[in-house]
Every structure is written in C-alpha cells, then in structure tokens.
Symmetry: C2
Subunit: 223 residues, 2 copies
C-alpha cells in the first residue's frame, strides 16, 4: 500500500465512523421516541405525546445527514466491493430507523387524538406495555450492534420479533372477543396501535439483517 | 471530452437506462398487483388473491436487481454530483415501489383470510373501489414519469393523495358510525385495509417526490 492509498484508507475509515456515529444517534433517538410515545399512550400524557411529534424532525434531519455523508463518501472515495456495500447498507439502515421514528410518532398522534381520554382501555394496557418492552429491547440491541458489530446479538432480533407477533395475536384475541365492550373506534385504534408496534419491530429486524450482512458478508433471506 | 470520457459517458447512460427499465417494470408490477388484489377483495376471488401473494416475489427480485445494478454502476463509473444523486435516488424509488408491492400483498392476504366470506361488506365496497381507482391512477402516473421524466405529472400525485386521504376519512365515518352493524372484526379489517391503500398512495407520492428531485434538482420538503 503506498502512502496515498493509506491516506485514502484512513479517510474512508473516518467517513465510516462518522456514518456509524450518526446511525447510533438515530437509533437512540427512535428508541427514546417510542418509550415516550408509550408513556403518552398509557398515561394520556399530552406533553409527552407532543414532544415525540416535535422531535421526529430531528430524526429526519439525521437521516438527511446520513444520505449526504454517504453520497459525499462515495464521491470522494469511490469505494468498491465490500466498502461500497458498507456505505449502501448504511443507507438502508437509516431508512429503517427513519421509519421507526415515524411509527413512534404515529403512536404519539393516536394518544393526542383521543386526549384527554386514554386511547387504550385499562385491560389492553398490559399487552401494550409488553409490546413496548419488546420494541425497546430490540432498539437497544440495534444501538449496541451499530456501536460495536456483533452478529449473534443482531440475530437475536428475530426471536424478539416472534415475541412481538405473539403479543399482536394476543391483542387481537381481546379485540375480537365476543364480549368486547368498547365499540368499533377503540377496537380500530387498538388494532392500528398494535400494527405500529409490530411494524417498528419489523424495521428493527430489517436493520439487524442489514447489519448481519455487513458483519458476515452473507445476506439474510427476506420475506 | 476525450474519447475515453465519452465512452464512460455512454456506458453510464446505458446503466441509467437499464435501471430505469427495471423501475418501470417494478411500477407496472405493483400497479397490476393492487388492481388484482382489489378484485380479490371485492369479489372474494381466491385465485386472484393467491396470484398476488405468489407474484410479490417477482417484485422483490427486481428490487434486488436494481440494487445490484446501482452498486455495479457506482463501482465501475464512480459517478459524482448529479450523476451520483441519480443512481442513489433510483435506490429510494425502488424501495418505495417494493413497499407498494408489499401493501398490495397485504390487501390480498386480508381477502384470503376471510375467504370464502367477503372481507368487505357491501356498503364499504364503493369507497374501496374509489380508493383503488385513485391508487391505480397514481401508479399509472409513476410508471409514465419513470419512462419519460415529467415534473408536472409527478406533482399531480400530491393532489391524488389528498383525494385518497378524503376517502380514508369517508371510510372511517362509516366504520365509526353508531349504526355500524358488523362488529369489531370487520371494522378492524376495514380500517387496516384503508390504511394499506393510504400507505400505497403515500409511497407513490414519495417516489414521485424523488422523481421531481431528479428532474428539477430541487428536493420536495417531506413530512
């Protein structure tokens, strides 16, 4: 490797580090967003809900920074093969994280729409609390893997996602029970909210699969 | 421009044409998918629904071809500035189209889950027929713009999306009416289906915005 190549290599590594740093910040932000949105949902906390909606713009802004940084890196470094794959994968991960932020915002907006009534009746709160816990665990793992690549930890998200799917089924059992006393609007809100958490988990799995691809070089087969 | 540059230029243009061709094929496929899924939904047509589910794999395959082609183009041509923007924008558009295919598949799966009963009661069919018409118009415009760039036509999708939002509101008015006679399950299916059409339209708008960015060089401000 001649000195110029070595220089390029260092620059490229610095670019990658910067992109990783942005992705970690995004992952932390969308994790915090869903935590706060869940609080807003379960305690009809208007301020918490409004803060989630307001702060989604920050996530979108980091998303744009990742795009700009990736485009800039490709333009200056002309990476090939696995280097190129790495920067393009970063784009995919940031798109998943951006979408997770949107879904947290949807939860917050549902809480706002029903405020000051709670959007979720008391008997559904336990299942939403559990869905939120699973989602939070997944966002935590993603943040960890982004900061320090670990294919085993990334692979755990598949199992977490199964847990989320089970919880969504439990939720629907309650919503569709003959004795459901709350009418169609609350049933619809419950179903849509369930879908927001389930989609959040799906995007977490997607980004984990992208990370596994990065770390191992083997794609995970997708649906 | 020396002969070698000219050669590169021609190769790059050929790469772009190939990517455009793939995107047009994808757009046509996701348009056909939602048309067929709507038929399956409104007429409880099991074969149509199964065909939509089976053929979503083709859309996913074209999506992977776009990714491979874009990575290959960047690696061989090392495009910069607006050329680089073009190929990265193609990635975003293909991601939106891939998602539109998934949403058509969700509609088809809802029809399958309720088969041989219709998933949608008679009084909701007109609003779903209208939502499907708006979505079809949007997918048609995207196909046209991909084949031949036209910022004015792309901008029309914003208005189509407003029409879709109005229809979704109409749908919810029926679902939430005090006289709703069909119980929670049909209300939930109706709400989720409404969301699938509305999300399909959203992704169509997103991809149109990407195209406007490509054509005019100015980004459309996003939510």
């Amino acid at each position: 490797m001649n000195p110029q190549d070595e220089n390029m290599r260092e620059e490229f590594q610095a670019d990658l580090n910067e992109v990783s740093r942005l992705l970690v910040t995004m992952a932390e932000a969308v994790r915090a967003a869903l935590r706060k949105a869940t609080t807003a949902l379960l305690t009809a906390d208007r301020e918490a809900a409004e803060s989630v909606v307001a702060r989604d713009a920050e996530v979108d802004e980091i998303y744009r920074q990742v795009e700009t940084k990736v485009a800039d890196t490709i333009a200056r470094q002309a990476p090939v093969a696995s280097d190129l794959r790495m920067v393009i994968t970063a784009l995919h991960i940031s798109a998943d994280l951006e979408r997770m932020g949107d879904l947290a915002e949807h939860v917050a907006k549902t809480a706002l729409r029903r405020h000051p009534s709670p959007a979720v009746p008391a008997e559904l709160r336990p299942v939403f609390r559990q869905m939120a816990e699973v989602a939070d665990r997944m966002a935590d793992k993603i943040t960890t893997v982004l900061a320090s690549p670990n294919a085993d930890l990334a692979a755990e998200l598949e199992k977490d996602d199964d847990a989320m799917d089970d919880l969504e089924r439990d939720l629907f059992k309650v919503l569709l029970h003959d004795d459901w006393p709350y009418g169609a609007e609350t049933a619809i809100d419950g179903a849509l909210l369930g879908r927001f958490y389930e989609r959040y988990a799906d995007h977490a799995v997607n980004s984990a699969e992208q990370m596994i691809y990065l770390i191992t070089g083997h794609p995970v087969t997708q649906d």
